[in-house]
């Protein structure tokens, strides 16, 4: 099944302006976040990590979108599953593990927030919170600030499909629409909000249907196709940078794991659903594509996996042994000091 070196299918990435090296990096990043994710579940089940939030099934959407942005100037307002987005903007496996272990050195919050609550000024990732969708107006504000300051950055904000029902989505999207601000609204639709399925969250066919009400384009795409996500997000970024305003993208994804390590999805998910969805695993799909077009082979694959495993081993070892904050650090950073 396509592990020959000769290309059976169309080379899509060159057409999109992506080099072989770039798509291999995308592949590496997808694998990295998948493997980090898997590791955190193991650490959780063995009692070492109290809490895990997972991105499995959404890697293509996250990595594809992040690669379409300019990581030297654009701003991110990610949500809690977006390990794949922040990795592209510079966070390392070590950073993510420090975050999971809530260590003093965690660059996101110094151990103050739960895993997955990303932030880092040096990466232009605005600190996020737990109440969903509050980041949407923030992204609009970052875009507005850029306009006022004569900058040409784009702001990328992501959220789940359930979260698109919060008032803040509506208010933020509308504000951006009225002022034609350079914001990409990126909905990772994994069809569940904890236990509540899509059909009980919304009645529209696609979250992208909401864009017309804000006067900008809305597009629904296959979020398991990393190149498709890259393409559409790149177009949105280009439009935004040219002053043509926001775009709403719905990336149709899967949620392979329970909502979090505290959740048991067997109580509400039809049996076999995940297994069925795994047939479209975004990483397998991309592996297949890369092999078909001759960019990846068994050897290269092993090499990347080896690198990924080493990264994660080292990150885990480092983070596990890194110190916690001092108790009194609890009292710091309430106001400017």
């Amino acid at each position: 099944m396509g592990d020959s070196g000769t290309s059976q299918i169309e080379n899509k990435h060159n057409k999109l302006g992506l080099s072989d090296e770039q798509v291999l990096n995308m592949y590496r990043d997808m694998l990295l976040v998948r493997k980090i994710d898997e590791r955190t579940w193991i650490l959780n089940r063995s009692g070492k990590l109290p809490f895990v939030l997972s991105c499995q099934g959404q890697e293509a959407a996250q990595i594809g979108a992040a690669y379409a942005l300019d990581k030297n100037k654009d701003y991110l307002c990610p949500y809690y599953r977006d390990a794949g987005v922040v990795i592209v903007f510079g966070m390392t496996a070590k950073d993510l593990m420090l975050n999971s272990f809530a260590r003093a050195e965690d660059p996101n919050s110094g151990g103050r927030q739960m895993p997955g609550h990303f932030g880092g000024k040096k990466y232009r990732i605005l600190s996020g919170s737990s109440p969903v969708t509050t980041q949407v107006p923030h992204a609009v504000g970052l875009a507005l600030a850029g306009r006022l300051e004569g900058k040409d950055h784009v702001t990328f904000v992501s959220f789940g499909e359930g979260s698109s029902n919060q008032g803040d989505f509506h208010e933020g999207a509308n504000f951006a629409g009225v002022h034609k601000l350079p914001v990409i609204f990126f909905c990772e639709n994994n069809k569940y909000a904890i236990s509540v399925p899509y059909s009980k969250q919304v009645a529209c066919n696609s979250i992208a249907d909401r864009a017309i009400g804000y006067g900008f384009p809305g597009i629904s795409i296959d979020g398991s196709d990393v190149l498709e996500v890259y393409k559409v997000t790149k177009e949105a970024a280009d439009r935004a940078r040219k002053g043509e305003g926001p775009t709403l993208i719905e990336a149709r994804c899967f949620r392979y794991m329970p909502h979090s390590s505290d959740d048991d999805d067997r109580t509400y998910r039809p049996e076999g659903e995940v297994a069925e969805e795994k047939k479209q695993d975004p990483i397998h799909q991309f592996t297949h594509y890369l092999k078909e077009v001759g960019v990846l082979n068994e050897e290269k694959e092993k090499e990347i996996l080896k690198w990924v495993t080493k990264e994660i081993d080292e990150a885990t070892e480092y983070a596990e042994n890194a110190p916690s904050p001092a108790p009194e650090d609890t009292l710091k950073h309430i106001y400017a000091e």
């Binding site: 151990g111 109440p131 359930g162 029902n165 909000a193 916690s324 904050p325 108790p327 009292l331």
Partner: protein, 327 residues
């Protein structure tokens, strides 16, 4: 009498009231098939069906607002806010609407609505799954705010809240859910809203508290007993409007008052309790009033070391009690 957990008490109250009155229904995020993220509504979906145990879209202002409309119609919705931290998007509906419906309509309309929300720290929830948000709602005439600390009170107060003709915010301490067990009558009973409760009688110092810290105070009192001091412990139970008489009576009882709560000190309920005492029985105090509360930081961090620093515990409460007793 049967011994059950705090969360079972809450589950029972809902089940019994739903069976008694078809106007009672439950709505919230994940309350249906999943039975709630804490399992407070477990079994209700199976027993009463999807229509009366409703998984809502992820939108707290709608949860509160839809419940207000249904309550105004005459139903008795119990809305679950998944974590008290996530009540913030619903503040406008709660404060501007539910609380003022009766007043603004000159008594024509009312809102017999319960909003349940798990609050408090000590569960590795970090900044946004641990907050004590109750003080924010204890300045809003038209609302009632309840925060039980025992299974008995939780069940009895929740039944009262469901039957109340006005909106009740019902704060459930997450740490109490499975940690606290207690006796609950096998027959129907209620606990009246608006009445504090003496949870321990004593002569030397008075502790006024509610929620999880009540249990810390009770434990600390045992230890203090060995030092030769007896503590009188008042559980506020209803945080708004406060039971002024019981507060004044408890303060008078010993003349030495320690107020304890998990919430930040400045602007917490303790201020109002102190205000009542300072106005009503200042001359009967034998020591300066003391407050032992959470530090004035946004909430407890996720990291365990920091969480322990933030949270009160029986030791910290004991120290404050012993100090006051020795004054």
């Amino acid at each position: 009498m049967t011994i059950i957990s705090y969360i079972e008490a809450i589950n029972q109250a809902m089940r019994e009231e739903m069976a008694r009155d078809h106007k009672v229904f439950v709505l919230g995020e994940d309350v249906g098939l999943k039975g709630g993220v804490f399992k407070a509504t477990q079994g209700l979906y199976e027993e009463f069906g999807e229509a009366r145990v409703m998984d809502t879209p992820l939108a707290e202002s709608a949860i509160a607002g839809v419940a207000i409309g249904a309550a105004a119609y005459g139903l008795r919705p119990i809305a679950e806010i998944q974590f008290a931290d996530f009540i913030m998007p619903a503040v406008n509906q709660i404060v501007s609407e539910a609380a003022k419906m009766r007043y603004r309509s000159n008594g024509d309309w009312n809102c017999p609505l319960v909003i349940r929300a798990p609050y408090g720290g000590g569960v590795h929830g970090g900044l946004y799954h641990s907050q004590c948000v109750e003080a924010m709602f204890c300045n809003i005439p038209g609302l009632k705010v309840v925060a039980p600390s025992t299974p008995y009170d939780a069940k009895g107060l929740l039944i009262s809240a469901i039957r109340d003709e006005d909106p009740v915010l019902f704060f459930e301490h997450k740490r109490c859910y499975r940690f606290i067990k207690g006796e609950v009558p096998d027959i129907e009973y209620i606990v009246p809203i608006g009445k504090a409760d003496v949870k321990r009688k004593g002569e030397d110092i008075t502790v006024i508290t509610y929620g999880l810290t009540l249990h810390f105070a009770l434990q600390a009192a045992e230890k203090l007993e060995k030092d030769g001091y007896s503590a009188h412990i008042l559980d506020l139970r209803t945080l708004y409007p406060l039971d002024k008489e019981s507060i004044v009576e408890a303060a008078r009882k010993t003349g030495k008052v320690l107020i304890v709560h998990e919430d930040n000190k400045e602007g917490g309920i303790g201020g109002e309790v102190a205000g009542i005492i300072a106005e009503e029985c200042l001359y009967e105090l034998d020591a300066p009033l003391k407050r032992l509360c959470g530090p004035d930081v946004p909430a407890t961090p996720y990291n365990g070391v920091m969480e322990r620093f933030f949270m009160l515990n029986p030791d910290k409460v004991y120290k404050a009690m012993a100090e006051l007793a020795a004054f």
